[in-house]
Amino acid sequence: MGFGWRTRFNAPESFILALVYTDANYYKIIHMHKNIKLIIWLAVAILGTFALSTIALSRGESINALWLITAAICIYAIAYRFYAAWIAATVLTIDESRATPAERLDNGRDFMPTNKWVVFGHHFAAIAGPGPLVGPTLAAQFGYLPGTLWILIGAVLGGAVQDMVTLFFSIRRDGRSLGQMARDEIGVIGGTAALIGTFLIMIILIAVLGLVVVNAMKHSPWATSTVAATIPIAMFIGLYMRNIRPGRILEASAIGVALLLFSVLAGGWVDHNATLRVLFDREGLSLAYAIIVYGFSAAVLPVWLLLAPRDYLSTYMKLGTVVLLAIAIVILRPDIHMPALTQFIDGTGPIFGGKLFPFVFITIACGAISGFHALIASGTTPKLLANERDIRMIGYGAMLLESFVAIMAMIAATVLEPGVFFAINSPAGVVGKEAIDAVAKINSWGFAVTVEQMNQLAKDMGESSLFARTGGAPSLAVGMASIFGKAFGKNLLALWYHFAIMFEAIFILTTLDAGTRVGRFMLQDMLGNFNKKLGETSYMPSVILTSALVVAGWGYFLYIGVIDPNGGVNILWPLFGIANQMLAAIALCVATGILVKSGKLKYAWVTALPLTWLVMITTTAAYQKIFSDDIRVGFFAAANDLSTKLAAGALPADKAAVAPQLIFNQHLDAYLTVFFVAVLWIVIIDMLAVCMRHCAGKPVLPLSEVPHRPTQLDDLWVRD
């Protein structure tokens, strides 16, 4: 490649040109540049349209997963090149000459101009958690099409826009958080709503993720022992990094990853050892208690001992596995067996109740649009960016990558035979406890599966049973194991399966630790208003009290989820989805408000469009969750149904014992939903009022953007 190619070619298509015309005369290229550029983008557009129509219009026969990948990559490329570039240049008017907070407030620690690829890595590692893996798996009950379309369109027009504009506004405001920006730009109400919303989402998110892990470990000595082993491994690495070889992170991580892989192998030995086996063969409830105790300890223990080393390990695992999965899918080009649409779009789906609209949009939050990202985009990332011109790559680009992870999760779920997929994911409360009943029920829906087939599959995967393993993790692991197994060696299926479980569990537990800790800080912050001592983050009684409160919060929902015969996921996941979309709507409200106040009313649709859609789906979903007569959708309907049955003595003894708790929980969930919607509408009305005042020429809170200061950085050394 000729010297200086980077400065000449900035857009991705010029990168392709630079690769093709390595030795050609640069001036010749410049001449042809415009036409070739046009041809390349036309080709991408045609290929994308063709791939998309193939997946959308194919009926009856199975299609190849490569079509999904092709459609996704073409759509991302076009959106990144044109839509994101237009937003950056015209809507946000990014200013390359402006010094960023990283430069102005450089303290060598949290504010620090950093190489853009390093920032991209940090940002992506922070936003991509277990969400984009679980959501698409659950939404696959509608068929592969609705989820796939929502992941693609939602990310390109919603999620990536939200992440990018939030990052931009935060950079223009010294890296301030979403809550602070809401308070500064819209008012106290918006700021408080964002704060409370974040706290509640955290509680629900941790509970549902805990439930996913519990369901993956239930009666699986292999999975349980492997996941348990990750805790002492993380602690050993923590000690290594802190005391044995301080700060040698890569060295410690390499040892840790090797130990983790070994723990997957060792789990197999535990599984084959009769005495050790029983030690790790546990009921859901005792596993839930173990996770609650673990969550509390992790929040109280110093970060360096457990949280930080676990986070390193889970990040490497996550990146490695995602890359491996992408390679495997491209090598293997598996066929998708799930139909484009199933009959469950009518709301009778076994995994969760509710019609295609709005529930597919609630179920897939992360991967399409996730309010949580706004907290990262207004947290650590804006303090690292060396130049505003990288906002598109970090904000928009990282979200596209996360969306791509969601597409791969969708592929892993839909390459399974639909009968197998539903056998794994349907709770016992819907299809029955006995294998015969479950198979009969699934067959009656028109999906072929046999008891022998499921037993053989469980045996291949090294599990005792794969029926009713709800939560998405086991079916994703089976999907990944079959893809990996076919691509890299079939005799290792059980190993691949437990590797996938370990990979999911390790960063679910990281989210659980980190979330509990953040919840604790928020609670301490709030309590600090009443009692100064309680607000001190190092005051031990306060640490214990607030950690216990946060853990009790999510522990309660986790407990209810475990005792619920319908699996709990069907209640908790939609609640999480509504909460997460509500936070996204708040972030988009703040962004729309700022756009209008900056005199960019004619471009405000960029954020107002996804905002309107989110408000429609969250409000509809919440309305149905509250008022629906369908007992699998409406919280009150379910509670009333259960109390009637309980009063009539129509419930078997074990169900009657937990019924009062379930009834209470349904009521609680209903009120929580009402609260979420109320918060959302308060913020919207507040934002609209600010916009209308501004347009009418009345005074509003001033823009809190910091004044322009020219950059002093010769940015090439930090950026590239």
Partner: protein, 63 residues
């Protein structure tokens, strides 16, 4: 080629925080050394403790 590998390696080190102490020393030499009230730079161990604790203050991971 060798240069690219070394750049990649630098990025990996920076991404993981492996070179955080070296960058701190550099930042110290450039900024703090010029100031009046000179405190000597932290030891590798002490710096790493502080760095790790400060990294986990706010929101770091999401769904």
């Amino acid at each position: 080629m060798l240069k690219r590998v070394s750049v990649l390696w630098q990025n990996i080190r920076q991404l993981s925080g492996d070179d955080a102490y070296e960058r701190y020393l550099k930042h110290y030499a450039e900024h703090q050394a010029a100031q009046e009230n000179l405190e000597p730079p932290l030891s590798r161990e002490a710096y790493f403790k502080q760095w790790q604790d400060s990294k986990w203050r706010g929101m770091r991971r999401c769904c």
